[in-house]
């Protein structure tokens, strides 16, 4: 079996949002039903509405509920979770009511809806889906009430589907003058200098820094010449050097040239992309593979060195154009 083992610990057991982890499966199935129910309702209403108006209107209602549930579960903000709770409840009530109605009075339903006979035409998935949706949302509500950092309103609006602590914890990597952290909010960027940060490498993709403004805040606080951007998606596959190598060189040069420099390398969670970039900088600074990895994992315990990311760095270091 060549499939890599999923990492144990935080990512496996604690998804970041209602749309990750098991939520990913839920959103996928909801999206499927949103698509098929709305396509079905659209065709039925457009081509033969008078044939079975009640069934077709109910199909359309089901489609709307599925779309709403898909979007809100994928979004995952507190408001979205409340809307998701309502749509999953309506969905459960709908499938029970329409299921019963379609069996009691088949004449009203000359043509089937998604919810006819409790969704038997769809393998009863419509009956099971809202139950799983409600269970998943309930798990989330419990977790929200036990994790105080979730209420950081500024971060929730800035980056609605990643629940972020308000002040990210900086992990200084030994005496290397490199720190790893999650994304600092616009409000906390100004305080970074007090913690010894003089340069910043931001590893978040363009769309995200544009939406939450973290890169702009860093450039304003430290000056554009002291901030580098390595716009990476956290896909777990090879990272192209064109995206990150310049930022790694920038950080290594700052540390070489300025004895007082302190470089903060951050992504969103401070786990994978920032660990990769830190690895690249440590390698450029002369540490061997084992030392670089050990330093990162020792001082940033939640860091993960994704094998494909490490390979990207090593392959780049081995290539003639790297230095």
């Amino acid at each position: 079996m060549s499939e890599p083992t999923a990492p144990p610990g935080p990512t496996a057991s604690r998804p970041d949002s209602t749309r990750t982890g098991p939520g990913r499966l839920l959103v996928a199935v909801y999206a499927l039903f949103a698509l098929s129910a709305s396509a079905r309702a659209g065709v039925q209403i457009a081509t033969k509405f008078s044939h079975a108006p009640v069934a077709y209107v109910l199909s359309a209602l089901a489609a709307v509920v599925y779309i709403l549930a898909t979007v809100t579960l994928a979004n995952g903000s507190p408001t979205a979770r409340r809307i998701a709770l309502v749509s999953c409840s309506v969905e459960l009530a709908g499938v029970l009511a329409v299921g019963t109605w379609s069996i009691a009075d088949p004449a009203m339903f000359p043509d089937a809806t998604v919810w006819s006979s409790y969704g038997s035409g769809y393998g009863f998935v419509p009956l099971v889906l809202p139950v799983f949706g409600l269970l998943w949302l309930r798990r989330w509500r419990r977790r929200a009430s036990t994790r105080p950092e979730i209420v950081g309103t500024e971060d929730v609006t800035a980056d609605s589907h990643n629940v972020l602590p308000v002040i990210p914890r900086l992990s200084w990597i030994g005496d290397e003058r490199i720190a790893i952290s999650g994304v600092p909010s616009a409000r906390t960027v100004a305080g970074l200098a007090d913690q010894g940060v003089t340069h910043v490498v931001n590893c978040r993709p363009r769309a995200q820094v544009w939406r939450s403004g973290d890169l702009a805040a860093e450039r304003a606080a430290f000056g554009p010449g002291r901030v580098a951007h390595a716009p990476m998606q956290d896909h777990g596959l090879r990272q192209r050097p064109a995206v990150w190598a310049a930022a790694a060189c920038f950080a290594a040069r700052a540390l070489d040239d300025e004895p007082q420099a302190g470089v903060l390398i951050h992504c969103t969670a401070g786990r994978r992309r920032s660990a990769m970039l830190t690895y690249a900088v440590l390698r450029l600074r002369g540490h061997d593979r084992g030392e670089a990895a050990a330093l990162i994992l020792r001082y940033r315990t939640e860091a993960q060195l994704v094998p494909a990311y490490v390979r990207s760095v090593e392959r780049w270091l081995a290539s003639p154009g790297s230095r």
Partner: protein, 124 residues
């Protein structure tokens, strides 16, 4: 009620179910998506594209199903399913990536059965 006829759709159903079974095994063993699952997904995608191509050829030759819009909807949706599953599998670096791919395998099989219910004369 029509049955699925032809070697290709039968192959797709078997491949889709096999993919789903393998992906569920990966989920149960707490593996994330790797190159094997991605390749299996690619095989299903190619089979689906061939099936869609054959049906389009039949449409071009002038034959029509009872509900043309429905068929076209299915023809558009069918090849997208494995692509979306691959993207999600790559984004979700946990056991739930293969779980999404298992759904895609099941959906590929179900789509074949549904296609033949919509247009029983597909003999490809």
């Amino acid at each position: 009620m029509s049955s699925v006829n032809g070697a290709l759709p039968t192959t797709i159903i078997v491949a889709g179910l096999a993919l789903a079974g393998y992906a569920l095994l990966m989920t149960a063993r707490n593996r994330r998506m790797g190159i094997t699952l991605l390749a299996a997904l690619g095989v299903v995608e190619i089979l689906l594209l061939v099936e869609v191509g054959l049906i389009v050829a039949k449409l071009v030759s002038g034959e029509r199903p009872a509900s043309l819009p429905t068929l076209i909807g299915y023809l558009i949706a069918t090849p997208i399913v494995p692509l979306v599953a691959a993207v999600w599998g790559a984004m979700e670096r946990s056991r739930w990536g293969p779980a999404v791919i298992a759904v895609a395998g099941l959906v590929a099989a179900v789509l074949m059965v549904r296609l033949h219910q919509i247009w029983p004369v597909i003999h490809v």
